[in-house]
Symmetry: C3
Subunit: 337 residues, 3 copies
């Protein structure tokens, strides 16, 4: 029940995602995936986020950066939590926000999505924040929008959730200062996690020493050998000497069939406890994208304990979303005639 294998460090690439995300000057113009973005771009996102991180502490929690811009939260999949973070980030930038929930029925198929996009484009909106149940939906939309519109991926199927990954990177950097030499373990349902994919790409690009994924064999993707990770199916072994443990949320609704015996058994094998955590470095950071299933992914005393930076992740998430919105909006403007 324990094994460790070192695999080649070649991140996989979606076709064109580099060309699609950057403008002709090589600046971020859509934010769809951490994949294929350079260390410089990822670092710039964190630097801009740093500059926004004090806005929430001010008496007037607003900056006029995107005043008069219209940002559309275009959610084909319901997520109050994620929508709220983007809405708040947009309002702190003084943008106008439209929340549109597209029923996942007929409207979310092929041509209809394009008609929805064309229609909103014609209303001269500036940005789509897209959440969709299908992998690649944000790419598809970014490929078809007008030059003066940016697309931010707020989660697409099993593919990517890049703002979540970047808020995690930003949180690590704020605590650890450097990525050099860090060992990071990601624990849980790697197979179904768009967050894990985006994290792995970002961590490797930012140059951590080692990325480990820890999961039951049934929850590992088939392409681990191209992801640039070390694979473990034993938690204790996997978190030994790591600097950061990122717990994934068990997406019960995403799991089809009997891949897991029971929540109880999952917790026994892969749930994080204070005791198990002693295997990691003494100053280990514990992260989770929320919402936590206490007693499944981790004990409550780990979630609320001194190693946990879970609430800092949330705070940092606003700053990171402000950053990518601002960067994408700036670099789209120079595309306009």
């Amino acid at each position: 029940m324990s094994s460790s294998q070192h695999v080649a460090s070649t991140p996989f690439k979606a076709p064109d995602s580099s060309r699609l995300q950057l403008n002709e000057q090589g600046k971020l113009r859509h934010f769809l995936t951490t994949e294929s973005l350079s260390k410089e771009i990822l670092t710039e996102i964190m630097d801009v986020a740093e500059s926004f991180s004090s806005v929430g502490d001010q008496a007037v929690k607003k900056v006029p950066v995107l005043r008069g811009k219209t940002i559309v939260n275009l959610f084909f999949e319901n997520s109050t939590r994620t929508r709220t973070t983007f809405e708040l980030a947009a309002k702190r930038l003084s943008a106008d926000v439209l929340n549109i929930n597209v029923a996942t029925s007929a409207a979310s198929k092929g041509e209809s999505v394009l008609d929805t996009i064309r229609n909103l484009e014609a209303m001269q909106v500036d940005m789509f924040v897209v959440r969709h149940g299908d992998s690649g939906a944000s790419h598809f939309i970014a490929q078809h929008v007008a030059p003066h519109i940016s697309v931010i991926n707020a989660g697409d199927g099993r593919h990517a959730h890049p703002t979540q990954a970047m808020l995690d990177m930003f949180t690590i950097r704020r605590v650890k200062k450097e990525f050099d030499g860090l060992k990071v373990a990601i624990v849980g349902d790697i197979l179904n996690s768009r967050v894990a994919r985006s994290q792995i790409h970002a961590l490797n690009t930012l140059g951590v020493e080692e990325v480990r994924v820890i999961a039951p064999k049934t929850l590992l993707p088939l392409d681990t050998n191209t992801l640039g990770v070390h694979v473990y199916d034993n938690l204790l072994e996997g978190i030994t000497d790591v600097d950061v443990v990122i717990m994934l949320r068990l997406q019960k609704e995403r799991m089809s069939g009997a891949l897991l015996p029971s929540e109880h058994e999952y917790f026994e094998c892969f749930g994080l406890t204070q005791k198990k955590l002693k295997q990691a470095k003494p100053d280990v950071m514990v992260m989770h994208p929320g919402p936590i299933n206490r007693g499944v992914e981790m004990d409550a005393d780990v979630a609320d304990g001194t190693h946990s930076v879970i609430l800092q992740q949330v705070t940092n998430g606003i700053a990171v979303r402000m950053a990518v919105m601002t960067m994408a909006m700036n670099h789209q403007v120079s595309d306009q005639p």
Copy 2:
């Protein structure tokens, strides 16, 4: 299967809609229907819309015209698309917007609607944008609101959808410059279309040469002889030499019973194709209120072709809604003590 008849050019009038829509100085104070409004008022709407049409191109897409005003989107019938256009128009005018969806249950009947209105009035809101499944609902509300409140009809039953009609007029004017001498054909479910009624009144008032309606006999209203239109039940004949073709959306959910054999057969007889369009003038404009059922009302290559102004209609819709909101708000203010 083909026939053409010329009918008397007397538009029908709802009782009092002229007195109701204008203030004592003859200025627009509610916008409920294009019926009974003068050519001067309709032209003023388009002139004001023209003045707002560049706002969406500015870096800051806002003007402070309605700052500190409260606009209530009061939707008794769900329509994300229409609600979005009004919300966007209001935000570009710097107004505050409240979206209220009233369940179409008990709450939408008689006295309850009035209680809802009285309640919102007491909160000192400034404008109701009303969508309702019953014809005349906006008139009813306009008859009962306080003098300092304006009502905009965002579609009531089969009766009227005047902002849609005026964005169509504005789009025609921007392309054709003049209404004089234009031949305009409206194609589709005339019987159930509030849009068609509002368009016919506006086109006749603005002085086009000829308005034609083209529909299967089962989808023609009984009062075509008072609408001031030429009636056709053959598409090719009806669009011959026209300057503008306005396709209506086939509102499947509004049709009761077996008025149509099938979507396929409808398309064969009344669907617009590039080939059929050759019957019209070479510079014919093709319009549709959206969303399009491609392959039912028209071929995709017509919808996306060079004659289509469908997306310009959407863009113009924001400016027209900004215009009627501003005009109604200005003329209500002079009513205040």
Copy 3:
């Protein structure tokens, strides 16, 4: 069927609600219940509301008092009407508003509520307006929020609805000038009414001469002997010589079992008519929190008659909500490091 009893005038107290609502300087910092608040605080709320009461009459209905603050309408129970009043009050204060409807399912239980709160706190919001079906939910949240966050109770179970009570007090004061010497009757489902509880505390604290409750015995709470009220089960007797009649809404959905024979019979015994109202003082005020069930709680001609101040209550409600939001926000600020 008629009886009257004088009961001891000792309002009941929830544990710590005084300490919880006030900061160290004795200033309002959360607004959870009228209970335990001093006459000075209640008077200050009305004074501040008075200063805001002209904002709705201005051409620009906004003051920059809470610009750059984030107010979250956190509704665990749906109420468009109440949510709208808070949203409007917040926007008139220039705050940013997030509307979050939490499904009353799993998410509203124990630890999950706390996780929701912690999460929103981490987004650096400033205020929670909480509506919840369980009594004490707002207290629970106020006990757990960070020092820089205020909680406003927008109705919790059968416990309290303090902004409704204070808008009623404010309305009485604007008409009657003084509370001294007033006789006030509250009529209806006292047992299930959070509004009645909050009103009784406020009226007694503000020093009215007499508070009467009038209800069928089945709709009286068990603790009337500690509430400081006179109890009547006969309407005519109860409203004799009163200055103010406050009708409660019959919350049909809150009543379990056969506590009432029928709406018709209820109206016969406890419904207010013009004729019955002659028992009260000639300048009696008639109040109702809305929405009215005409023909159940009162005749339409009473609701719309000269004694009714029902719509003034709505108008005053915006000013009172602006007042408590501003006071709580000010007094929280001094808590910050």
